[in-house]
Amino acid sequence: MDRPTSIFADAELPLAQLSLDINADGRFAAGELQLHTRHWRWRAGPESDWAAIERQSTHRLKERDHGGVATLDLMDGDTLLQRWHCTLAQHTELRALLRVFEHGHAQSDDDLPDPEVETPPSTWVLLRLWRFACPYRWQLLLGFVLTLASTAATLVPPYLTIPLMDDVLIPFQNGQAIDPVLVGWLLGGLLGAGLLAWGLGWARTWLLALVSERIAADLRTSAFEHLLGLSLDYFGAKRTGDLMARIGSETDRLSVFLSLHALDFATDVLMLGMTSVILFSINPWLALVTLLPLPFIAWMIHLVRDRLRTGFEKVDRVWGDVTSVLADTIPGIRVVKAFAQERREAQRFKTANQHNLEVNDRINKTWSLFTPTVTLLTDIGLLVVWGFGIWQVSQGDITVGVLTAFIAYIGRFYGRLDSMSRIVSVTQKAAAGAKRIFDILDHQSSVPEPADPLPMPPVTGALRLDRVGFRYGSRSVIRDLSLDIRPGEMIGLVGHSGSGKSTLVNLLCRFYDVSEGRILADGVDLRQVRVADYRQHIGLVLQEPFLFFGSVADNIAYGRPGATREQIVAAARAAHAHDFILRLPHGYDSLVGERGQGLSGGERQRISIARALLIDPKILILDEATSAVDTETEKEIQKALDNLVQGRTTIAIAHRLSTLRKADRLVVMDRGEIVEVGPHDELMAREGHYWRLYQAQLRHEKELQEAA
């Protein structure tokens, strides 16, 4: 290896660079690799010397990754010149380097973002809720005023204890008669204040609960609407249960937080403020002594609570273990029973449950200590006030009435400290919930609507794939694929599983956008028209037809809610579904779907074919439409499909090659590329990929027959 240091004399900027954070021995390091116009340049660490190789046109880069570590080989023909390693944390740099090496420039229209790194949610997320609270700002303001007023009202009764003590009870003990008028006034005041606090409290709780419920509902609706607009890869990466929880229970938890915890906290803070003002206006010294223990008590409660919180988090996790056993076992009950593993599953559940018990026992030990501790702390605080108060009374600084008022004020206040200390953890939880919802709202669809959409031209069903490439993450699924499909033509997609057939179909439906190249429908790039405008011309029949909960008629008319009954019946008849629908207890009005009438796979499939027929699409996509049913049903479905295919561009994926005999052309795919195109007979004559697939299937069928 030569080291022509002279060429570095000019401070040439590298075209691309990569941090080599793993060295040749597989240890972490801080190496660097630079790609320059005429040479490669690298070093193993900041202190090491630079090495270099001159670039040749015969150089090739080979990149592979395994277990999060990427290996980059610089090859000259079959000889390895140099090998570099880095972790996939350098993914973006690595991509850029490869692009520069292959295309000479770093430009790419689809820079893949770095994988999301989870950061703990900041409490400030809650401020973003303002966007949803804004429409209700006047109600919120009114709610605040009501809170202020009702809190003030609750502070009146303790104040009235001063005259009650000093002007009524104590003079009575000293031998004076009780003045019934005064007592009447004071008691009336107490009752009035109580009634006022009751009314105002009701109004404020009701109003704010109403508002917070509406905020949560708005949040829920917009989160769901946004979610529906996201592309399929988002759904592929998330668990259904998780998304359901985010939109369902998280929003509900937020609503509870706003209407209950936040409100209570605000009330408590207001009360603290007002109480201190009142106390200081009565007697500053006693007020100081009364309020002094407050921060200490709050801090100690917080300490205990913190310890409890880690415990409760653990309980949550263990609880997750328990439910995951359930989530595992119940959907797989057929397998469990078939293999007679009920006892093992029961044991697994028992173990998880036992663990849950142990963790709970431990936390309960601390938990049971909590309330008595708070009481003790409060009592000690009161003790201080009593002590200092008695001393002040003995000095003649304050009256007995003032002391009683102080005790009454502070007693009610200490009680709230516990719930106030809870606000920290509750707020954190609410912030985490809010973040999870805003995660959905912030996510941009990877199939974006065009900013300036073209009108969809009359669709004839002509499709053109122009050097299409698609990468999923860093994995290339479809490479440089070109294909012209005439209107009305039927194309059969054939290939091993994993050859990219379904991905191609997803691209044609625009569930994903191509990474390279373009797809044209009647001459228009799919990315230039509105997604919905294009998709309404597509009929999709899937392997596992999905029926929504609702009547058969609703399900058939799903893509065209305004269809008349005649149209629905006609579509069902063309899909060979009419006869069996009439046999259902309520005909077309029978309920199907998750909680509805049980239908066989073939019946469901024919309903979904009717659904596709009803929208009369120009482009029809059959993704393994018949592979989930037996041969007899398949014939029935095939007849239905033959009706469907008439006069439409059809792209069919089928595992059983015999079902594609009618296709005008078969497209044989292998590892994301087209390897053969042509009609059945031609491909058979060629004895290539298709022929081999066909033979293999024949052999397989024969074996099955012999076995039978």
Binding site: S551, V569, D579, F580, L582, G587, Y588, D589
Partner: protein
């Protein structure tokens, strides 16, 4: 549009269809939309389950045909209308209800709340009993107060 067919009861008590002078064949009359449009899209279905004749609407038929089809339909239809819920055994399911219907007073067993189906008109309800008989409440708001109170506990 009036189709050329005759529907008659044969000596065995079955309804038989003869289409355009062909030999007659036993059929059953079936409503496609018994709940949402009972008079539309009526099928006369043969014993093999295939539809022999489709009637788009009852009023496209001649008076005699309509009468026969209506009679054939009525034979299959059994959907008592509940006019009053006298009592329910318990508010947890399964629950035995004693109801007054247009076909007399009877008992029905409700297996679960999900057997009460709300139709598009929110107040119209269908209740499937444990034995598969479907009861209809044409308008739950029109029931008397006591019945509504009982019903409310299950909705």
């Amino acid at each position: 549009m009036s189709t050329d067919f005759t529907l008659e009861r044969n000596s065995a008590g079955r309804w038989c269809l003869s289409l355009g002078g062909q030999a007659s064949e036993p059929v059953q009359a079936v409503r496609s939309f018994p709940l949402s449009a009972p008079d539309e899209a009526i099928g006369l279905v043969g014993d093999d389950g295939h539809e022999r004749l489709h009637i788009p609407h009852l009023n496209t038929l001649s008076a005699a045909q309509r009468e026969a089809v209506t009679a054939a339909l009525a034979e299959r239809d059994f959907c008592p209308r509940i006019s009053r819920i006298r009592s329910v055994s318990t508010f947890a399911t399964p629950s035995t209800w004693v109801v007054d219907t247009d076909r007399g007073t009877t008992e029905l067993v409700l297996k679960g709340e999900e057997d009460i189906r709300r139709l598009r008109e929110r107040s119209r309800l269908l209740i499937t009993s444990a034995h598969g008989v479907v009861f209809e409440i044409p308008d739950s708001a029109a029931l008397d107060r006591a019945s509504r109170k009982l019903l409310e506990r299950f909705l």
